[in-house]
Symmetry: C2
Subunit: 214 residues, 2 copies
DNA sequence: TAGTCATGTGACCTAGCAGTCATATTATAT
DNA sequence: ATATAATATGACTGCTAGGTCACATGACTA
């Protein structure tokens, strides 16, 4: 947790530091990210940073929580109540929102990917737990789908949940490929929401019905 | 490329250095991996390493090529001719071999994952090209599947190829989950080939037929 | 105005890194 | 045995990093 001093800062300064730190941790692994670079860019003294945060790990965890909250609130604001939709429509909305987050919050997205994939102060075990949390979330969805009679009760829920989490993890790069963008373009965030829908329709249809000839 | 001096080394010593370097680069990102640690473990002087390799990047690229070759030769030795099988059987064999590689060559596998996901001396662009190579490979398979009448000609090949590459990227962690293993267990490589088959059957069936009720 | 507490500062510390090089050792050839 | 070339060595350089601290500056109270 940051120290009180950090929260006493004028919002503008706080936000600047947060943004620059996020940029650094979005662009480099935990070990490679540099506090010295951050303070230099922010135009503040190294010592000041240690008035705000306990250290590198403290800053990292603060950003990690920020990213988690940002994603959660973005998703919940975009995705309707799961009870009001059939499973696959809900999945589509969910993944669209997820893709939207990647596009409209590229820094947060890139840092999130590094938490899962790159070096981080988290132990391998904790990292695995995060991935499992995603898989478990999808498992819950699928189980409810079965209970509501939308899915075959004999469906291998674990395998299907794995499939969904694998797709959602890589979805971002597929969308960027298909819209012919790279990470740089994300900043300008002039990607329209409508372009996402047909892509998600296609992907969800594949997950739903498979690749094989019907 | 390593220098001639490296290849003049007695095989035993060469292999030791290679193995220790691979362990280091499998356990840490490019920036965090340490030549000093490698030479210390190998019991040789720092200067010797620079008699063998031009520098850190040279060593890294050497290992990268080794991993690529190891994977390629492993896969081609296990997977039969694509013409002799229907598409989904071939996919199954391919992914089984891929999983087998992960299990029997864990160091090479882990380093490979870091090349794609972690920091590396490759530019973002080159990294993307590697991922694309995988997607393109699957695209080729799918197109041939269509030509042979195994797949619907209206299939969205790009999306399907993305699905396959997403699954194959994450397959390793799913298998480890399902067999209740972690990275450590891989070393002991007493995982039997037979255990893989039912898992792959399940996954391929999902890809083939989808999640939905039929 | 004097005093107190919160905040800001950057020189400084220790540690680890990649990479260098003069020198020592070993192997090979004559 | 001698000369020559190949290989091995580790102290050393230069750099960057995270983290510390005595001190400076500002703000608020009495």
């Amino acid at each position: 947790m940051p120290k009180q001093t950090f929260f006493n800062l004028p919002k503008q300064k706080r936000d600047l530091i947060t943004r620059l730190a996020l940029e650094e941790f979005a662009s480099h692994d935990y070990h490679s990210a540099s506090l010295s670079k951050i303070v230099e860019r922010a135009g503040i003294a190294k010592g000041s940073m240690y008035q705000y945060f306990g250290g590198k790990k403290d800053l990292y965890l603060y950003l990690f929580n920020l990213v988690g909250q940002a994603k959660l609130s973005y998703i919940t604001s975009k995705v309707p109540d799961p009870e009001s939709l059939d499973l696959f429509s809900y999945l589509k909305e969910l993944m669209m929102a997820s893709a939207g987050f990647e596009i409209h919050h590229p820094l947060e997205y890139r840092m999130g990917m590094r938490v899962v994939y790159g070096d981080s102060p988290f132990k391998e075990e904790e990292r695995q737990q995060m991935k499992n949390a995603v898989v478990d979330f999808y498992k819950g969805l699928l189980i409810r789908g079965i209970e509501r009679g939308e899915l075959d009760p004999d469906l291998d829920v674990d395998a299907a949940a794995f499939l969904l989490s694998a797709v959602s993890l890589e979805l971002g790069s597929f969308i960027m490929n298909r819209l012919d963008l790279d990470s740089e373009d994300l900043q300008s965030s002039k990607i329209d929401w409508e372009a996402l829908e047909p892509i998600l329709d296609t992907v969800i249809a594949l997950i739903k019905n498979g690749i094989a000839r019907r």
